[in-house]
Amino acid sequence: MSPKNTGVYLCSGCGIGDAVSMGSLEKIATKEFKKSCKTNACLCGEEGLETIRADLAGGVNQVVIAACSPRAMTDRFRFNGTQVIRTNLREQVVWSHPANDEDTQMMAEDNIRIAITEAAKSTPPEPKVEGEYSQVVLVVGGGHSGLTAAREASKAGYEVLLVERASQLGGMAAKWSKRMPVRPPYQDPQPNTVATLVKAVEADSRITVKTGCTVAKTSGMPGRFTVEFSDGSSQTVGAFVVATGWRPYDARKLGHLGYGVSPDVVTNVEMEEMLAKGPVVRRSDGKAPGVVVFVQCAGSRDPNHLPYCSSVCCGVSIKQALQLREADPQVMVYIVYEELRTPGVAEEFYRTAQRSGVIFIKGTVKTVDAALTVTVDDAMLQQEIPLSGVDMVVLATGMVPNSTNVEAEAPEVEEEKLRPLKSDINPYAPFAVAGTGAPPLTPPEEKLPEGAPLLNLQYRQGPHLPMLAHGFPDSHYICFPYETRRSGIYVAGPVRRPMDMGEAAEDATGATMKAIQAIHNAAYGLALHPRAGDLSLPIIGLNQCTKCRRCTVECPFGAIDETDQGFPQVNSTRCRRCGTCMGACPVRTISFTNYTVDMLGSMIKAVNIPDETEEKPRILVLACENDAYPALDMMGIARHQFSAHIRIIPVRCLGSVSMLLISDALSVGYDGVMLMGCKPGDDYQCHFIKGSGIAKERMSKVGDTLKSMALEAERVTVAEVSIADSGRLPKVIQDFVEMLDTFGPNPFKGF
């Protein structure tokens, strides 16, 4: 590679030139760093871009742009593969600080220093593409979600392999007599269309169907998963859509609601089968029921059974009640509910049932006895009422995700592997930060899920898909739908969260699109969400590696395996490029070509630290580029002012912040360090799942380092910042600055 020739370009537009002295900024680049530097009044305009393009033709091969936020004008400042380093003069300097002020000028100058230092330490990454990549989408589960996913992938031109555990396609949805309305006017039950979908899949030449078959073993990475099946065959696939669906909650545990006590107490699934077969009759005497009571939330939203709402049971009961009333208008139907939840547009459906004479009772069913007396605690009348003369009781039971294969035996797990496995499976477990001693929280009982793993992943992190709350293998449901915390494996349908057929079809389509992205990106060495398109990969210096395994333990996506010798081995297309391994490595031998501990350390040290007598403290903010950095930008856009003593350096994820950076910053004289990142925990918003949690965990251990430097532990803090926090941030920063003032300056200044 030819030697670096860096050109620095300053923009004086958008008020930058009016607020800071461009001449002094140019001098930083030309005098301090000996780089060529040009200023333009509108760098993103055609004239400005032409200047840069002309220099590129003249030999410049790396561009440093000091203008607006790196999040703005990304399409303008893109020069055909040339590395571009951006620094922020607009949102975070001139828009959020007083114009023509000494401190504002110093901040702008330091940002130039940081950017030029970054440019010096960074080289553009090369894409890692090796061998063949498969274009096949493997859909696990042949129910409504799986069938839809297969059809969608096929329509997009991809080969599909559809694997179904049962002997025929259709899944649970094939049993339904009718389905809830999915089209305007959303009023009446609709015919079940699963059979048509099965036919379409069977007729599709791009879809290969394997029934009576499960996945026995999965290894590899997106674009190159090697999958072995229970029938002994194996195949290479590009990505997974896991649509294994759900099973009804075990009603035998609901003895207090009469299940198993009387044959005329049935579940909603059994009722559905009765409706599909023909006229509904009582199991006990074969007579048509005259009075039917639906019990909502049977075992749902109950801490002793299913603690969550399955969202579809209310709609299903309305549908079944309408079907019963339609078959026999004389039948009396009661629906006893706690809250009638009709998500989507099912409100019209609810009205149809009310109009047809179904009686809705708001209350909780306490017991159902053998004589079918339903005792209702009526919330509206505030009294307990025994409902007698009932012929049939239908329990609206909830949905349990098939996140494991409960029909198969759970495999034996070696004792040694059990602990990390449990902590990765259990959402309530504290983050495993290797080498930091005892966990800070007492975790609830950790246990492996029942049944065999769905995909039996041959990953160092264990065979299961990691699960979030209540055993659903989901990631954050709003921020990252369909993600599973295992790259290239996406979940769709009721295995992800309880949902009806209409939602499941949408879900399957979404997950299929994600799978196609994974297949496509893998073949070009491009990263997946959230650093979509990134080419960099962690490089591990094996000659320094001590085999401590911290990187393999902490990797949020299970991207790093261990070789037989115990060395870490990165599976390139599984990696999301967050840098958590880099932050974890105690010998700092993990780095990216354009992101290293050394680079961040040099950027931190590039800032000019004034002498303590000048009373100009310096505070380092390491901001997560996904949430905190845009929130800081938005502060500027809203013209909120904040302290000019702050120096902001974006990081890929707080998980990539090495402890070394903190001690580096304090030893060169920063008065405090603030880490800004997303919310950790089981309702995390971290784009890399546990990066911010790990950072918090690491920083709780930083006290000892500070103590050895005779500094106050409060000088280092972690702030939770969401993207919507721009209004709150000025106060967060101000409070920290004021607290640091009470400590006085860092005594290490000037060393």
Binding site: M332, Y334, L340, Y350, R351, Q354, R355, G357, I359, F360, I361, K362, D378, M380, L381, I385, P386, L387, S388, G389
Partner: protein
């Protein structure tokens, strides 16, 4: 002429509920009540009612005929129609309460006969049937003296100061009550209304 409403034998018997849905004006919309409580929340008099409209509707669903027809909710409605205007499911709440009050009278439920509102309404009706106009003095006197002469005098004295204050500001006219012209026409109108009601009630199942 009327069919009596069925009396339920057990809680949540739908017999009475369905009868109300089919025979009370606006009852068909009552099925759409989702128990949100906007009616009771909007009612200026709900604090004086034992149940309020929302609970009354739920009690009808639960087949609690006796409790519904004996309740004072039916009699404390002042017809402000806030509930009718605000009901998100367009249930004509106030109309239904009036109908239920009529039902309570017809089927002989005690509170109807002893209800203050019922006595007041009698005075009101007598006033406009006789004079073609409502006259506050006549309505008040009619209402005061229904429970006997002594009780009437007592009530009259209790309201003495208010009455004088009204006279002072010209809100209580002295002199003979006004009669409308052509009272014969009014009689015809009232007779026609009675005929319509009779036809209506006879049509009930």
């Amino acid at each position: 002429m009327t069919t009596m409403s069925p009396t339920p034998t057990r809680p949540y018997d739908l017999g009475f509920t369905r009868w109300v849905y089919q025979n009370i004006d606006g009852g068909d919309r009552m099925a759409l009540c989702m128990q949100c409580g906007v009616c009771s929340g909007s009612c200026p008099l709900s604090t004086t009612m034992d149940n309020g409209p929302r609970k009354t509707f739920m009690m009808i669903r639960a087949g609690m005929k006796d409790a519904v027809l004996k309740s004072d909710t039916l009699w404390n409605c002042v017809s402000c129609y806030n509930c009718v205007v605000r009901c998100p499911r367009h249930v004509p709440v106030a109309y239904i309460l009036h109908e239920l009050a009529t039902l309570a009278v017809r089927e002989g439920y005690a509170p109807a006969r002893t209800s203050e509102t019922n006595k007041f309404v009698k005075g009101f009706t007598w006033s406009f049937e006789t004079f073609g106009r409502t006259d506050e003095r006549i309505i008040s006197l009619f209402y005061y003296f229904q429970d006997g002469f002594v009780a009437g005098i007592k009530k009259l004295l209790a309201f003495k100061s208010i009455a004088f204050a009204f006279v002072k500001v010209g809100r209580l006219p002295l002199g003979l009550p006004h009669r409308i012209k052509n009272r014969g026409e009014l009689k015809k109108m009232l007779a026609a209304a009675a005929a319509i009601e009779a036809r209506h009630t006879a049509g009930r199942k």
